[in-house]
């Protein structure tokens, strides 16, 4: 019911300019609680994510890190029975307030999924998807966006001669980087990555990690990962989740070298999880 109401209001408000991504704080999660019907999945989580940084969410399976990630672009709305309280601010906007423009939110907060999900279209049409959805029809502009997105994802030289080939013919690692390029084509300020390398081989994983490092110049990245070395390698901040709570959040270096909490220490030293 609630969803329907917000959807109707969505059309009245075109809030592209309402997001302010010049602020220092890109994402502010304030006392967030989340339930899946009866199950209390997220308990009182508060996090402040800085602009231009890579923040890693780590923790054992089922600890709620992906759930929090998916709340940031409201993909959790797709799950029946999901209920959220508390406040999540992105670019200064409360994204769960009534009247939020969901398409615009998701354009600004891109997402890369665990399993690569390129559309069964050509490479070009995959990248051009978001621009086209948002009304860009001019061929030259689209070409420009496609090329620059592929360059940002360091794939231009690899793919420039196969733009018309089906994206499903690419390798798993290429597909995932294509999905990153596709998200970048929407010109997002924030990029959410949900275990983007868990289905990939080490070489592809390495490429994506390099890419993250390059991308943080222009977008804020939040990455969920099972791989603790990965978190240590690429992130600036790390949040450790356990049973729906944030146990510890701070500089990555500090978390991995001198964790404050005993649970964090036990987890990163591999004693459980």
């Amino acid at each position: 019911m609630e969803n329907k109401k917000t959807e109707r209001k969505d059309k009245t408000k075109n809030s592209v300019k309402d997001f302010d991504f010049t602020r220092d704080v890109a994402i502010n999660i304030d006392h967030m609680d989340l339930w899946y019907t009866q199950f209390h999945a997220i308990k009182d989580v508060s996090l402040e994510i800085k602009k231009g940084e890579i923040t890693a969410f780590i923790g054992p399976s089922g600890c709620g890190k992906s759930t929090v990630l998916k709340s940031l672009n409201r993909m959790n709305d797709l799950v029946p029975g999901c209920r959220i309280t508390g406040k999540i601010e992105i670019g200064g906007q409360d994204i769960y307030a009534p009247g939020v423009n969901l398409p615009m939110l998701r354009k600004n907060v891109g997402m890369v999924f665990q399993k690569p999900n390129p559309f069964p279209k050509s490479v070009y049409d995959n990248i051009a998807y978001a621009p086209r959805i948002f009304g860009i029809r001019d061929k030259k502009t689209l070409d420009g966006i496609v090329e620059s997105s592929l360059r940002k994802a360091a794939m231009w030289d690899e793919l420039k001669d196969r733009l018309n080939k089906s994206a499903l013919g690419l390798s798993g690692g290429q597909q995932q980087r294509l999905c990153i390029a596709r998200a970048l084509a929407a010109d997002p300020a924030i990029l959410l990555m949900d275990e983007p390398t868990s289905a990939l081989d080490p070489i592809s994983t390495g490429k994506i990690e390099e890419l993250c490092d390059e991308l943080k110049k222009s977008v804020t990245i939040v990455i969920v990962t099972h791989n603790m070395q990965q978190a240590a390698r690429i992130s600036d901040k790390t949040a450790f989740f356990l049973l729906g709570e944030v146990i510890e959040y701070g500089e990555t270096q500090q978390i991995f070298s001198a964790p404050v909490k005993a649970e964090t220490e036990r987890y990163i030293s591999g004693r459980f999880g």
Binding site: N73, R74, M75, P120, Y129, A130, P131, I133, F134
Partner: protein, 604 residues
């Protein structure tokens, strides 16, 4: 010890060949049909000339003053068939695809099942019912609406065929849409697409090949339909000169004149059937090519080479929202017209039901229809069921999966199922009625129908065999059982649901059939006097004859009543299918992973 082994393997070979022979039967059948029809058309084609036959504009078979080359031109019928099919495809295609979109994405959860069931029931409604409805409602309505003398022609034919192909298109599109992976949907939403945009820009294109197969199958059904079209097209052999000018299709041409044609005329009609068969084979082959190659590739354009562009991202999506409402409206139209037909037949049928029981003093028509229908069902099942089951066993248990011969058998089985019933009727008429000298008889009808239901049986049994996990076979073999023993005592009992389903589906097909039976078992309304060798009309055939040959009001009433009984039979068959599924669990019981029933797409 060695001896025993040898013996076992030898026996295994023998049964394998029996199963193989059954499986290869559909190849034989398809070739048999093509060859018999071709051979019977050759005298006509030779005398008339292929060019004169195909492009002649004059069909005047009984005027012996003219040369043969001037009497038999099928061009008007060819054009008529194409126009009618094209109209049906456009109308039925649009309605079917949008109804499928509605059903999968926007239909409220509690209406999904009923809507789906209505569409499924209509897939089984005999074509004579649609034709009869068109004749008694549509044609008079069009006559009044457009204020002309003739309400028949392309428009009512296309409308009736639209209703007939709609369930095919809708249910194939629905299946295709449901099998699109959900990550596509999530991916589109995560990029900022609205639900409607995601559906029209990602989901529908991803389901394209399934939707197109549905459209092609619908085309095959439309171009091959006979009885429904005969009742509404007007049947004059002139070129279509408007949407409501009387025309004739290829199928109607055969069915209308076959009963009295002889000599060259008869051969010319069979040649008409051959032309139709060629069309159908092209359509069928295009489906199998489509299955092979579904990925098209766009041309590589030269990129502009501008990388620094300022683009403005604005929210769009009006068209997809319009598409959503179009799908609401069209689904409502589909629902209303389908339910409307059903209600109409019931309302007109119930008060007249007494007529078929002989209330007016005539011989009751229902009992002979009953006996004839069930005799034909019995004959065809007893022939086709063992052959079809053995074929399915060969394909799934004995053949090397994916081998050339398996693919060939599948292709020919599919082809056989796509051949229109009028062609089966012609084939039965040539082979059983004339060559084998069975005359118009229940036996000839039953033999013809056994060919028609064969693909259904093969498919349905095969599907339930595929669903049985290999571990079961291995368990039995590991106990030392032979392959045949495993098959008889372990595998086939598990495939019971599939076999029953095959039987019930076949019965449905036979009950609804009329075009193939008209020239094989005839249309008499008496009890069979000479048992299997006497002619006799089934329910569907009687609906057709009462509706078209009847001169009196009583006959019209009898047609309504017969149509009503036919509807009851169809619903009963549908209920029987539901019960089999419910009690025996169909294939579902073996699926380890629960199949994704519905994609839950919530508004987001």
């Amino acid at each position: 010890m060695k001896k025993v082994e040898k013996k076992a393997s030898h026996n295994g070979m023998a049964e394998k060949w029996v199963f193989f022979a059954c499986a290869a039967f559909s190849i034989v059948a398809v070739f048999g049909i093509i060859i018999f029809i071709l051979v019977s058309s050759i005298p006509a084609l030779a005398e008339i000339g292929v060019f004169n036959f195909l492009f002649g504009t004059n069909w005047n078979p009984t005027n012996t003053n003219l040369e043969a080359s001037e009497r038999f031109g099928i061009l008007p019928m060819l054009v008529g068939s194409l126009c009618v099919t094209f109209g049906a495809l456009i109308l039925g295609g649009i309605l079917g695809v949008f109804a499928a979109l509605f059903l999968v994405y926007w239909c409220p959860e509690k209406f999904k099942k009923p809507f789906e069931q209505i569409i499924n029931v209509f897939a089984g409604v005999p074509s004579v019912i649609f034709g009869f409805f068109g004749m008694t409602v549509l044609v008079p309505a069009l006559r009044v609406m457009f204020n002309t003398d003739s309400g028949s022609g392309i428009l009512p034919s296309s409308l009736v065929l639209m209703l007939m192909i709609l369930p095919t298109v809708a249910s194939m599109s629905k299946n295709a849409l449901r099998s699109v992976p959900e990550p596509y949907y999530e991916g589109a939403l995560a990029l900022g697409a609205t639900k409607e945009q995601a559906i029209f820009t990602v989901m529908l294109p991803a389901a394209r090949s399934g939707v197109i197969s549905g459209l092609i199958m619908g085309t095959g059904r439309a171009i091959g339909e006979t009885m429904a079209v005969i009742m509404v097209c007007g049947n004059s052999t002139s070129f279509p000169s408007g949407l409501l000018s009387s025309i004739r299709t290829l199928t109607a041409n055969i069915a209308l004149e076959m009963s009295y044609a002889s000599g060259l005329h008869r051969n010319a009609l069979i040649a008409t059937g051959f032309v139709l068969l060629v069309f159908i084979l092209i359509i069928n082959l295009s489906i199998s090519f489509l299955k092979k190659d579904s990925k098209g590739s766009a041309r590589l354009r030269k990129m502009a080479g501008v990388t620094d562009t300022k683009a403005e991202y604005r929210q769009k999506g009006l068209f997809s929202v319009i598409g959503k409402y179009v799908s609401y409206v069209l689904s409502a139209i589909v629902l209303i017209s389908l339910v409307g037909i059903l209600l109409y037949v019931i309302i007109r049928g119930v008060p007249n039901i007494g007529y078929v029981f002989g209330i007016d003093g005539s011989t009751p028509a229902i009992w002979p229809a009953f006996v004839n229908t069930f005799t034909i069902i019995f004959i065809s099942l007893i022939i086709a069921f063992p052959i079809g089951t053995c074929a399915a066993v060969y394909l799934n248990e004995y053949a090397k999966p994916g081998s050339k011969i398996v693919r060939a058998i599948r292709l020919f089985t599919d082809t056989l199922s796509g051949i229109p019933s009028i062609i089966f009727g012609l084939f039965g008429n040539i082979l059983f009625v004339n060559l084998m000298g069975l005359k118009y008889s229940l036996l000839a009808g039953g033999l013809t129908m056994s060919l028609m239901i064969l693909p259904t049986i093969v498919r349905s049994v095969e599907e339930s065999l595929i669903a049985i996990p290999d571990s079961l076979r291995e368990a039995s073999l590991a106990c030392g059982a032979s392959k045949l023993y495993t098959l008889m005592h372990v595998i086939l009992p598990q495939a019971l649901a599939g076999m029953l389903t095959a039987g019930v589906l076949s019965i449905g097909r036979i009950v609804g059939e009329s075009a193939a039976l008209l020239f094989t078992s005839g249309s008499t309304r008496n009890f069979p006097s000479n048992w299997l060798l006497s002619p006799g009309g089934t329910f569907s055939v009687m609906v057709y004859t009462f509706a078209t040959e009847g001169r009196t009001a009583t006959d019209a009433n009898k047609a309504y009543a017969m149509a009503f009984i036919l509807i009851i039979l169809v619903v009963a068959i549908y209920v029987a299918l539901g019960l089999i599924e419910y009690f025996l669990g169909g294939e579902r019981k073996w699926k380890t992973k629960k199949p994704k029933e519905k994609i839950k797409l919530k508004t987001a």
